[in-house]
């Protein structure tokens, strides 16, 4: 009897271990693909995280955040998020819509008649569309998101930076900074505290050095062109911090589920054909499953990619200190599979 019980226990333990071992193999394989692609692209440093339903499932950093000083990249290394800043702006604006301060069909001119995009509606800005409501057309111009700061100020009675700074505190994104120039803020400007400024300074000490990479994959230090947070770029964050934001978003802490579902629904053009961009995120299908994603890039400095598969409860976060993650691939056209990194992620986890 005792021997049977022991055999049963061993069998159960073995069975339980098989899926765990298989998961490790899959993540290991994915990590190898990412590392191989990083090497070919000559990206000096790359941080990668896969977030599940409740927590980080896998993380790996490779290469160096500073080549000259041989400082290894880590998953808590801060990078410029560039265009992924739009996701934060979209979340703030959609919250304003939820709270009834504005509607998606308000035009920007209602809040600032001198706005260069005054005739565009909030929905059009968020979806990168123009034209009529029944026949929108898509063109990816992230800088249009900068106009949404007027909406934020109406809704929050503060600046976008103040709203983001508050959000960073709320979600314990301790290594994130609302713009490189946030360390120059004199508290309590934008509601930013002395402690926050000190924290920003500490994070920026570890900011990944940006690099320009030539065809021989030789990396030379460059400069970040953007110092100030705008609606479309400027946020500095880490893969781990973004994971916290992603979890808060998907768990309904930031936005109601129905709001997020609407944001992650592709608009259609006059012929009923889906357009590539929802409200703040690109939206497409892969193997019949919805994929929402966003990317960021600064020429010769940095690049980033975030891919979420809602039905699987998975988000991939990739941050790099050269433009190699994005620049060679036509992501602005709206197909994330143009990126080999995303293609590998989807190929392995959405089969």
């Amino acid at each position: 009897m005792r021997r049977s019980l022991l055999a049963l226990t061993v069998a159960i333990l073995l069975i339980a271990r098989v899926p765990l071992h298989a998961d490790l193999l899959v993540y290991g394989l994915f990590g190898d693909y990412v590392e191989a692609l990083r090497a070919q692209a000559g990206i000096p440093g790359l941080s990668a995280v896969i977030v599940g339903v409740d927590d980080i499932l896998w993380e790996r950093a490779s290469g160096q955040q500073n080549v000259e000083r041989a400082i290894a990249a880590r998953t808590d290394t801060p990078y410029q998020l560039d265009g992924i800043t739009q996701v934060f702006m979209a979340s703030v604006v959609l919250r304003c819509v939820e709270d009834g301060y504005v509607t998606l069909d308000n035009s920007l001119g209602q809040f600032n008649p001198t706005n260069p995009d005054a005739s565009a509606t909030i929905r059009q800005i968020l979806t990168h569309t123009s034209g009529t409501a029944t026949s929108p057309s898509f063109a990816y111009h992230p800088e249009r998101f900068n106009s949404l700061v007027d909406i934020v100020s109406v809704c929050t009675r503060g600046s976008f930076r103040a709203t983001v700074a508050s959000g960073l505190d709320r979600f314990a994104m301790v290594d994130s900074v609302p713009g490189l120039d946030a360390v120059d803020v004199v508290p309590p400007t934008d509601g930013i505290s002395n402690q926050a400024v000190v924290r920003y300074g500490a994070a920026l000490q570890r900011l990944a050095t940006p690099y320009v990479v030539d065809q021989q994959k030789h990396a030379t230090p460059s400069q970040y062109a953007v110092r100030t947070l705008t609606g479309s770029r400027g946020l500095v964050s880490t893969a781990r911090d973004y994971a916290r934001f992603d979890l808060a978003l998907r768990k309904g802490v930031l936005l109601r589920p129905e709001t997020l579902a609407a944001a992650w629904r592709a608009p259609v053009d006059g012929n009923g054909v889906p357009l590539p961009h929802g409200m703040g995120w690109f939206v497409q299908t892969y193997n019949g499953e919805k994929v929402v994603w966003q990317f960021g890039v600064s020429d010769n400095a940095s690049s980033s990619l975030v891919v979420t598969v809602p039905s699987r409860g998975l988000t991939l976060i990739l941050l790099a200190n050269s433009d190699g993650l994005v620049k060679s691939f036509p992501l602005a056209a709206g197909d994330v599979t143009a990126s080999p990194f995303a293609k590998v992620f989807l190929g392995i986890f959405v089969r």
Partner: protein
């Protein structure tokens, strides 16, 4: 008096009129200094790999034509840290070339240098572990090179040559960084059979 054209004519005109000869040259060689835009997960393209193939030449006193077929197994594999990602790979070239050789009557008992240049097709194949970034692509290509052939008897000899192959006009099929492109050098030694 112009000496140059006279010397050139003497070089080009055979001492006795001879018919064109056929040569078959099975060879072994190595590819090296490769470069590609394909997602080369194991970074094998730049490594040296064994090349096998055969060249068939119809060569007159100076000019000739040539068909060259070569296969480089494992072209995109290096045995490096990511070797498990690439299960198999190869690069294959099929080219037709023009041959310009030193006149036969001047090189009857010595090595006979030649220049080749032409074009054809290149086939790149990469099978990755999860078939996510697998490649099977045909590309137009040009090649050029130089070599020497020396005969030890009426029928048998040896030949060495080095050539550069480069694809052109590749499209972006989502399996490369930009348009598909592949180039490499090949150096080989052949057994030359004349008939």
């Amino acid at each position: 008096m112009r000496v140059g054209p006279l010397v050139l004519a003497m070089l080009l005109v055979p001492a006795t009129r001879v018919s064109a000869e056929w040569q078959i040259k099975p060879f072994l060689g190595t590819s090296f200094a490769g470069s590609t835009t394909f997602f080369d997960l194991d970074q094998g393209a730049g490594e040296r790999h064994l090349a096998v193939g055969m060249t068939s030449v119809k060569l007159g006193e100076v000019f000739g034509v040539e068909a060259d077929v070569a296969h480089v197994p494992g072209f995109f594999q290096s045995g490096g840290p990511f070797s498990q990602l690439v299960l198999g790979s190869s690069a294959t070239t099929v080219t037709g070339n023009v041959v310009v050789a030193l006149p036969r009557h001047l090189t009857e008992y010595t090595l006979r240098p030649y220049f080749v240049g032409g074009g054809g097709l290149m086939h790149a194949r990469i099978d990755d572990a999860r078939a996510i970034l697998s490649v099977s692509s045909n590309l137009a290509a040009w090649d050029m090179g130089v070599g020497v052939t020396g005969f030890l008897s009426d029928r048998f000899g040896v030949s060495w040559d080095v050539r550069y192959f480069r694809s052109f006009g590749g499209a972006d099929e989502g399996l490369s960084t930009g348009p598909e492109q592949l180039s490499f050098w090949r150096a080989n030694m052949a057994l030359a059979i004349r008939y």
